[in-house]
């Protein structure tokens, strides 16, 4: 066989080996991700530091930074319950702002879907978009409508579904102008 042809054949084999290694490692990572149970954030855990983009205006917001207590709300445009809760949340966000609690809707969905979900409200300025990997860290089960209460030190105070006992307690405190120190 011609020497050049032999070298080109070996080169093709080498590229195939490189591709095989790459694909094998990618398949292994995917399998591990699928097998590993998602680690949900629980009370006492620290919210991982990450930066999110505000849906309206594109500003950047640091999540997990110490300073202000916040409530992160997880809504999905595919969930009818979430759509039903949006008008009520719009008024609740204003009350939370007045009480010193930063309330953010957090999503990984595309802008258009979010715009459709929030249509008719001013919640776009209170909505943060995260990349898929960061979203997996804060809401690995993709629960919705769900929430995370984070205290001023960045620690998780409570987590659950919007409408559960902790959520209703927060609602009562906000609508009763009761302050939010005990809830967040």
């Amino acid at each position: 066989m011609d020497a050049d042809l032999l070298q080109l054949t070996l080169a093709a084999l080498a590229f195939a080996i490189a591709l095989n290694i790459k694909l094998t490692l990618a398949a292994r990572r995917s399998t591990l991700r699928a097998l590993a149970p998602p680690a949900t954030l629980q009370p006492g855990h620290t919210l991982p530091a990450m930066r999110a983009t505000v849906l309206a205006g594109g500003g950047r917001v640091a999540l997990g930074a110490a300073g202000t207590a916040c409530a992160l709300l997880f809504l999905s445009s595919q969930c009818p319950k979430c759509r039903a809760k949006v008008p009520h949340l719009a008024s609740l966000v204003e009350l939370a702002d007045a009480a010193g609690l930063a309330m953010w809707i957090v999503s990984e969905e595309p802008r258009l879907r979010l715009a459709s979900l929030l249509r008719g409200t001013t919640l776009a300025s209170r909505t943060l978009r995260l990349g898929r990997a960061d979203y997996r860290l804060v809401n690995p089960l993709r629960a919705s409508p769900a929430y995370l209460f984070v205290d001023r030190h960045g620690a998780i105070e409570a987590t659950g579904l919007i409408g559960d006992a902790d959520w209703l307690a927060l609602e009562r405190q906000l609508t009763g102008a009761d302050g939010v120190e005990h809830a967040a």
């Binding site: 080109l8 080169a11 093709a12 290694i21 490692l25 292994r28 990349g131 990997a133 960061d134």
Partner: protein, 169 residues
């Protein structure tokens, strides 16, 4: 194996690594920019400039290394990788855990294996610079060197996973 062929393998290896670093950072650009702030303390205003600058420098070096100015590109890549490695080692020692997204990896902190990978890259560049420059290698041999360089590049980029697999089994 001639020194020129060995040098050509190293040239392709480093060129592919630099290209992969550019592509990985571009694919997860927002995360890389944020990591500059959260892991390296770069102010957001500066991060918005530094992130594309780092990618641009890596792309330029890849073009030099894979183009006709390989020695110049390698000579410039050596202090770049050495500086990255020293910076990462210092931040890891100081903060314990940090994320880089240097090759687009998203969901894990940097490990000692990543530092070892960088040291191997620095050693490969130094070896290339130490090898005597020759008249080059024939095109068919250079294609073979590219294939072997690609294997080295894949192993280097995924060194963390490869090392874990080797240690675990």
């Amino acid at each position: 194996m001639s020194a020129a062929f060995g040098a050509d393998i190293l040239r392709w290896f480093i060129g592919f690594v630099l290209l992969a670093a550019c592509i990985g950072k571009l694919r997860t650009f927002a995360r890389f920019r944020d990591n500059l702030e959260t892991s390296f303390g770069v102010a957001p205003r500066h991060g918005a400039l530094l992130a594309p600058a780092v990618i641009g420098v890596e792309l330029l070096l890849a073009a030099l290394v894979l183009g006709p100015f390989a020695w110049l590109g390698m000579a410039a890549a050596l202090p770049l990788f050495a500086a990255f490695t020293i910076l990462l080692a210092w931040r890891m020692k100081r903060d314990g855990a940090l994320r880089c997204g240097c090759f687009g990896e998203a969901e894990r902190n940097l490990s000692g294996y990543d530092l070892m990978r960088n040291l191997l890259i620095v050693a490969a560049i130094a070896l290339f610079l130490a090898l005597p420059g020759g008249a080059g290698v024939p095109p068919a041999s250079s294609v073979l060197a590219a294939g072997l360089g690609a294997i080295l590049a894949v192993l280097a980029i995924d060194f963390h996973d490869v090392a874990h697999l080797l240690v675990a089994h």
